[in-house]
Amino acid sequence: MKRLYIFIISLFIISLPSYSQMLVDFEGEPAAFEDNQHCFDCHSKKIYTYENEYTGRIERKAMNPNFILNPDKFYLGVHRHFSCTDCHSPDYETFPHQAELRLEEMYSCLDCHGGDPTYEQYHFELIEDEFGKSVHANRHDEHFSCWSCHDPHSYSALTRRDMKISEIVRQHNNTCASCHDNPDRFQLISDSLKRPLHQIHDFLPNYKLHFNAVRCIECHSSPTDTLWVAHNILSKDLAVKNCVECHSANTLLMSSLYKYQNIELRRSRGTLNAMLINESYVIGANRNIYLNIGSLVIFGLTLLGVLVHIIFRIIK
């Protein structure tokens, strides 16, 4: 009996590191819940109310849609323990907010996450470098920042080991589509009128299936081994357009979309495509080694049988 207890306790201890590795406490009460409520009172609603000090009237106003946040999403994100004024000026605590506040300079990811060994595993510096090479940085300079794609008010990792591939794909592609399939937002940084995504991609045999099965960045970025998610988005003439880059035995997807699940499996040949098989099907990449060998053997035997029969027909 005593041994059983020791066994159970040691099991528990073994399982602990996986919890301590988490940098954010997702279980506990958000640290600044009370403080933030004051801001969310207005900034989570389409209509907000305040008392006009001059007239003494209660005013009902429509909130600028860009400034409406979803507290539920905020408290699910990685910044859930933050107080609004950790990043925004404390002067926002008074209403009406002062006009100059609009000009306040916002932090970028690196301002907090750069050079900090706590976040080493996320390679923020490398992300910055890779982003610096990308079309997003080169074509749009300051207008394009981390926040253009990642909303710090709701951000949580788009790629985690415990996520299904289809879920990873959906989240990632929604990020791209939020501008590239949304003319209103696209115009914030570009005057060009883009054709809709499905038109641009009409060379794909089944564009919808592709969009649901792989991420935009599979073809539109240059992946690096150390980064989980490639940030060097390439210009469109450098995008992968050759089908066999993915549709072949050593599919590109192994080093991009499937790398998270495949890092452990990669070396063993038989399981190379195990991940692909479980969740999706890629013509030319999913090859069952046993069926391939089996079919060759059967086909060989058939030809051999025919050959022997021909020989007998000739000599007899």
Partner: protein, 205 residues
């Protein structure tokens, strides 16, 4: 001059010619896709995909000709298998191909206007035309419209399972084709059956 009987009506020959040609396209493009390789493309992937789709649709529509023909004309009656004594006659025919043929013995089930196929032929054609071909057409059309396929079967991708079945049956049909074409050389002369499938007249041994 050998005796000739008219066995293959025009509609059948048209169906068969289209079918045979499209099958060759399907096999070549199918293998290209299954074994696609960036440096050694048999047929370029995107072309292989479109040709395979087009040929597949043609084969599917063409199959309707075969079905209708066999439903309306008496050709369908050659595809009815009588279970009684089947095993025995299959063994007999098999034995003929393995021994009797080489000793110039007469065929145990000679072809006539009443008996177009020997038992082995009949079973193979029925298996091919009423089992394998329908499976490959249905799975093929499903893969053409993947949104119609159930997405998960026991945690496996439904598309994957469908593709696996499609590929396996495609392989079996390729094996059928090799055997079929080879056995067609066993006739009055090695080429006479092929001529028969073109002009309609079967040359008797």
């Amino acid at each position: 001059m050998a005796e000739k009987i008219y066995l293959y009506p025009v509609w059948l020959r048209i169906w068969h010619a289209i079918n045979a040609l499209m099958f060759l396209v399907l096999i070549a493009t199918g293998i290209s896709m299954q074994y696609s390789h960036p440096d050694a493309p048999l047929i370029r992937f995107d072309r292989a995909v479109s040709w395979h789709n087009i040929a597949g649709i043609i084969v599917s529509l063409n199959y309707l000709i075969f079905l209708m023909g066999n439903l309306i004309t008496k050709n369908g009656s050659f595809y009815k298998i009588k279970l009684k004594g089947l095993i025995k006659s299959l063994i007999k025919q098999f034995d003929y191909y393995l021994r009797g043929l080489f000793k110039r013995e007469p065929a145990p089930f000679p072809i006539s206007e009443e008996r177009k196929f020997n038992p082995l032929q009949k079973v193979t054609y029925v298996g091919t035309m009423y089992v394998l071909v329908p499976i490959i057409i249905i799975t093929g059309l499903a893969l053409l419209f993947p949104e119609t396929i159930v997405s998960k079967v026991f945690n496996y991708s439904g598309i994957y399972l469908t593709a696996l079945l499609h590929g396996t049956v495609g392989f079996l049909l390729s094996v059928f084709l090799v055997i079929h074409v080879y056995f067609s050389t066993i006739g009055a002369s090695p080429s006479s059956n092929f001529k028969g499938m073109i002009n309609g007249w079967h040359e008797k041994h």
